[in-house]
Symmetry: C2
Subunit: 356 residues, 2 copies
């Protein structure tokens, strides 16, 4: 089986970590029956400055027509509003209908405080529809702006279904001997329907309905948390959570919060997932403060590469990569500076490749 | 000076903690020159069930016409959408134009990880305008709902100005010998303008402008954090923050997150502040799971009472209450169960009254 992977390094440390994703794919043993081909693609703030488009049409076309998946690094957010610029990853998620953003957050099993959760974030709507306008009205004291938060039953239902499927898959991995702190599958629906009774109310009721489907009911436990209290609980009892499903913006916030629990954003992967297509994307940003120093943690990208493979149906290859990364972390000898170590990006990559 | 205080216990443990607020006001030494009068007022889910209104007009009228301030306990959020019910505290904030929600989060100084920050949350707009509608369109797969997020320059400017004033006041308390981990005043503006360039962009630029005013510039340092990264940093480097200013919803989420850092929501106070009026409100909810057991932590309410006094200009009385609460926590002998202790609500209140 040949998989063509688009490589979109983007800005900043994106260019230092995406090559690691390519290398680990190339290093997978041929016994797995996978062959990879790569296409370099452009997107990001620098692309915008050069070409006037943060996400060139050509990038989208090639991803749609030629690729099976992709790896996306990070993009710089300009420090002021730049006319015509808007985030290419947000656009990409919508243009390829990558409706789920899946973010597993997990400590290695030797950790003092074991955490093993996945945040399943709706990836196409909510305030990310970016329908905004700026107005002027004395009733509001002059200038004001409005944005639309849009929640559809369709998107809420399919993201909740994805969360349920992931809860079942995690359970079957546990049954196969992969250890975990969880006993039974649990999906926690996060919302703020005590204030937003219609939008978040729709998310909540649709998610409940989707998770009451026969394939989940009786197996997957379902509970709810209001988003503010979810953040509180996330920090007080992180071990209690298995799969958390949330609308786009809450998912964005919760996944950064969860990343803080495991010590570094440099560890946390994500995949943007649609029908038969997935983009692996480390959760960290372009980190201009450390770029060019060969100290960026490649683990978020390596895990994102594995996560992409999982959603492309190459689960065995994914498991190999996860195990190699866990090996590096458990040994704790070659760690990048964000984890308190002294290893360079290159040293971490080599250590993990060696364990593959 | 006579201050008339409205008492709105609301639901659940609100009824167990609000009386503690009254008692501490009555116990303040007469040498402070303050006299208090109280009016019992109705609001909450039970009030809704009895009268059909969660926030009776009479409550609002009496607060407006007869009171100098108020204490608000907590309200139950119904576990499903109840027709006609909507949160009375959200309505109260808007009806009395209590434009700032001020939430100090601080460890006692003996703590291993010292934290001393205030979250200053805009309290009248953002998604809390609650302008929602439910629609149906095949383009969105059928049923969907929309909510308006509204950000005005006026509200953003006044909340940023409040944040600047609080930063200056904190600095002057430090100059007067009140110890703190902070050296120089800092305001951190939180937003998501990389996605919401118009709404959060307006919050960001207006806040920057307000904090560039002569009374702040050169004294108050100003920085920014995107909300997701703010949650991450809040947990990784909480000691770095002094005053955080945020739109309504981010402020809601951040303050629960910050509460988790100090061990319990039962410690964290808030004040809803307008021109010459303040409502003290513990950050915790109505906690139906522990109501009626006399184990609710009264400290959030006692600190909220002090915070209300501060904003009514009774700073010395406020300082007395803070010191009595800190004394109880530093000694650590009579703590409620949320802090790992065994003391009842009544025992904690008595210990703190004794220290006044
Ligand atoms: C860069 C930004 C637009 C993006 C988001 O908000 O989705 C990022 O925070 C993420 O989580 O991938
Ligand atoms: C109860 C709820 C409406 C309220 C809010 O969202 O403001 C609460 O979470 C708070 O922080 O006071």
């Amino acid at each position: 089986r040949v998989l063509r992977i688009g490589l979109i390094p983007g800005d900043g440390i994106g260019r230092e970590v995406i090559p690691a994703g390519r290398r680990i794919l190339e290093a997978l043993p041929s016994s797995l029956g996978l062959k990879f081909e790569f296409t370099d693609l452009q997107a990001g703030f620098e692309t915008f400055e050069k070409t006037g488009a943060a996400l060139p049409d050509k990038t989208v076309e090639i991803l749609k027509n030629e690729c099976n998946g992709a790896l996306f690094g990070a993009v710089s957010s300009p420090s002021k509003v730049v006319k015509g610029y808007s985030s290419p990853i947000v656009a990409l998620r919508k243009k390829l209908d990558l409706y789920a953003n899946v973010r597993p957050v997990k400590t290695v099993l030797t950790a003092a405080k074991p955490i093993d959760m996945v945040i399943v974030r709706e990836n196409t709507e909510d305030l990310y529809v970016k329908e905004e306008r700026t107005l002027d009205d004395p009733a509001y004291g002059g200038k004001y702006a409005e944005a639309i938060k849009r929640i559809s039953a369709r998107a809420s239902s399919r993201i909740a279904t994805m969360a349920g499927e992931i809860a079942l898959r995690r359970q079957s991995l546990r049954a196969n001997g992969v250890s975990s702190i969880h006993k039974a599958p649990l999906v926690t629906i996060t919302h703020k329907s005590n204030v937003l009774s219609q939008t978040d109310g729709l998310f909540r009721s649709t998610a409940r309905e989707a998770l009451a489907a026969p394939r989940f009911s009786g197996t997957v436990n379902v509970e709810e948390q209001i988003v503010d209290s979810m953040v509180y609980k996330l920090f007080r009892q992180p071990e209690a959570y298995d799969v958390i499903v949330a609308p786009n913006l809450y998912g964005d916030i919760l996944s950064d919060g969860a990343a803080a629990l495991v010590g570094s954003l440099g560890l946390v992967p994500s995949a943007n997932v649609g029908e038969g297509f997935a983009i692996g994307e480390p959760c960290h940003g372009s980190a201009p403060d450390i770029m060019g120093q060969n100290i960026a943690n490649p683990i978020a990208t390596l895990r994102s590469t594995a996560l992409m493979l999982e959603f492309l149906g190459a689960e065995e290859a994914a498991a190999r990569i996860y195990a190699a990364v866990d090996g590096n972390l458990e040994e704790g000898r070659l760690l990048s500076p964000d984890l308190g170590g002294k290893a360079t990006t290159e040293e971490v990559v080599q250590d993990i490749l060696r364990r593959l």
